[in-house]
Amino acid sequence: MAKNKMNRSQELWWQQANSDFSIWSLLNANDAGPCHQLHYLQMLTEKISKAYFWRTGKPPRKSHVGFVDFLRSLGSRSLKKSERNRIAAIFGFKQHEHFESWMHNVTPLIHELERLAPALAGDGPNPEYPWPYLAPQHSPTTYPFHAWTALTSSTQGRSLIKFVETAVKRFAEYG
């Protein structure tokens, strides 16, 4: 059930995040290389965060960092307890305290995912371009990304993927 009507800016960012999610699902189902899957995951977490922050009607900052802020905002203490519990339930948590505990545990992995964006990766590992720029030594397609192993081989990583899916699919209920 929709909680809030999205404004036009939110709708546009959500549409793009949803489309990115569809592409990621195709990549995942077809066992595409980790670099390509990470690229889409990184992009869609950024876009769903932007969709959320557009709720104020003002443009959020133009940075790649956003998903951690998005999580923190969802867990904001300034919301009423009933609202915090409602949001936690959307994401499958029994109560808000469980959501907070999960956030605490998963935040390092989210930072790792965000740092893969070429703009933040500096001359290091990123899912798009060989690096270092001036004397390439690595290509994303053959690089063993730790973030990917963590996302697919750990309970916490898989829970993050499920969280991202819910964030996109049920945006209208909390956005």
């Binding site: 995942n28 189902a29 077809n30 066992d31 339930a89 994401f91 499958g92 948590f93 029994k94 469980h98 959501f99 505990s101 999960w102 545990n105 192993t149 963590a150 697919t152 081989s153 750990s154 309970t155 916490q156 898989r158 829970s159 993927i161 499920k162």
Partner: protein, 111 residues
């Protein structure tokens, strides 16, 4: 000529080892071959470090693996807490549609 044999039990055991290596919270892995499609590997991973989710939110996550090769399969993992595992065994939580604990093979955490 191909010599690769698709051995789901062997592959499931490999996943169990790998996942435990990465995630110290995984205390037991169950491989559920019964009623599973031929090219699907179903695992239940019991994790004593996970934040317990609502029972109605239990949903496996799946990954396509080795697509286009002779070992192509889908890996499907259901992550649960030890308490939820107890409730599954007591029939208080239903497994996902089509899943069965019959013939389940388990690999406990080794110290």
């Amino acid at each position: 000529m191909s010599t690769t044999i698709f051995d789901p039990k062997k592959i499931a055991a490999w996943y169990a080892r790998q996942h435990r290596k990465i995630d110290p919270g995984i205390c037991r892995v169950y491989y559920l071959p019964d009623r599973s499609p031929e090219r699907e590997i179903r695992l239940i991973e019991v994790n004593d470090m996970m934040v317990e989710m609502r029972d109605d939110a239990l949903e496996p996550i799946d990954f396509g693996v080795d697509t286009g090769t002779e070992t192509e399969h889908t890996l499907t993992v259901l992550d649960i807490s030890p308490k939820q595992w107890d409730r599954i065994q007591k029939g208080k939580i239903q497994l996902p549609e089509g899943w069965s604990l019959e013939k389940a093979i388990s690999w406990p955490r080794t110290k």
